[in-house]
Symmetry: C2
Subunit: 248 residues, 2 copies
Amino acid sequence: MAQAIPLRKHSPLKASCHQCSLSNLCLPLAIEENDLDRLEDIVQQGRIFNRGEHIFDQSTPFRSCFAVKSGSIKTSIITEGGEEQVTGFFMPGELVGLDSMGSKTYARTAKALERTSVCEFPVDKLEELTGKLPELQHHMYHMMSQEIQNSHQLAMLLSKNTAEERIAALLLSLSSRFQRRRLSPTNFSLPMARNDIANFLGLAVETVSRVFTRFQNQGLIRARGREVELLDVEALQAVTREFSRQGC
Amino acid sequence: MAQAIPLRKHSPLKASCHQCSLSNLCLPLAIEENDLDRLEDIVQQGRIFNRGEHIFDQSTPFRSCFAVKSGSIKTSIITEGGEEQVTGFFMPGELVGLDSMGSKTYARTAKALERTSVCEFPVDKLEELTGKLPELQHHMYHMMSQEIQNSHQLAMLLSKNTAEERIAALLLSLSSRFQRRRLSPTNFSLPMARNDIANFLGLAVETVSRVFTRFQNQGLIRARGREVELLDVEALQAVTREFSRQGC
DNA sequence: CGTCCAACTTGATTCATATCAAAGCCGTAT
DNA sequence: ATACGGCTTTGATATGAATCAAGTTGGACG
């Protein structure tokens, strides 16, 4: 489904938010069509990262936020003890690096889980622009507050819920995020390893594995490796109870 | 240690950030002395809330952020099942409501834990002002990103740490927050009940109680009801390991 | 085509913390 | 003073998930 290439005044190296299929999920959704050019002016057409490559590293100077165009990203903290703590997964249309806004250095490391392309928003330019476009500033506040809420929701999930509830919540979160992109909400492939899931959800890998098979035996899902099919979304929702989370 | 009262042009109903002893912790720290007037113009001298009174309620229209002047506040979410989930405690100099920025309604309920006075920042005015003062905008981003980081740190604490580690982390967090206000970091009174601590840390009340007595028996703290004395901060830090959190 | 290594699964045992149950403490109101 | 109710502590038991210990699968690569 190739897109027609319109005549644009910008250099071909610039990303074109106008044509981006993710513009309804990403920063552009905040602003008027005619202000979009100003956003395009600061966006840098991002590199492509291969699986395992770092988009940025914890403690290095904070320069940019990144929007995922395709692929997926995992963010994590390396503790003093050298252990990794996975803090989130980011899918196309989602913005990585908000947790470092206003800081001098990146608070986390971001790593491509697969071949991934991104758009880059240099923070100095971004802050300048949000100072001029109130809607964009408002949207930044909104996205950041959402991230606060999401991580509190995560904290709740981790502190009050069983392994089954956590995993059901993650599956449903991924499901709804695929759905937003008009992909199948019931049939997708996990971008991350069991290990990452376990780490993110505060569980042992073995437990994750066991819950997957338990869900499978109960007819809630079908899973072969990273391929997952949700067979009974209702039942999964019942498992998570009050946790209808929109993002991890 | 009464402060001299300078002649000011503002109405006596307005808060005076210039003289506030918390100005080095609060929003004013971001801006120049001469821009401070503009912040003062939008600040509303807050009401005093009695113990148990709500500063705002989850799902009601989001109008303002609040800075704690004295006392303390607890924020929580009420889940569909009607259960309370404590999401944070706020002490003087700290800003409540950031997690609702950019949203139409408050994401949480905020309740005074004791007699508490606040300063109120109406969001419409605040957003307008941050659009004009880049340093203030930057500071808002900074504070919001800090809150994202804090809640991820909390998620980590809840998912990977034992009851002892969580409680030690909370005690040390409170300690350093008292210290920032030039109060004793080792001798203070907890603003919240054991129940709130348990809820916040994802533990049973009984566990919190047991850990308190265990710490006491080990000579780490002395606790009588809400009065707490930290006897061995080093040891407490050792308990929390890598968790040197600056805020809950 | 087979070897190797990492990712994943399965089973047995242990341990921290929840849960259930009951008693003690303290402030407040009668 | 005394009694009530909420908060806190203590004890006994149950349980979900971690840990330890083998396997098993599957993809990458010679």
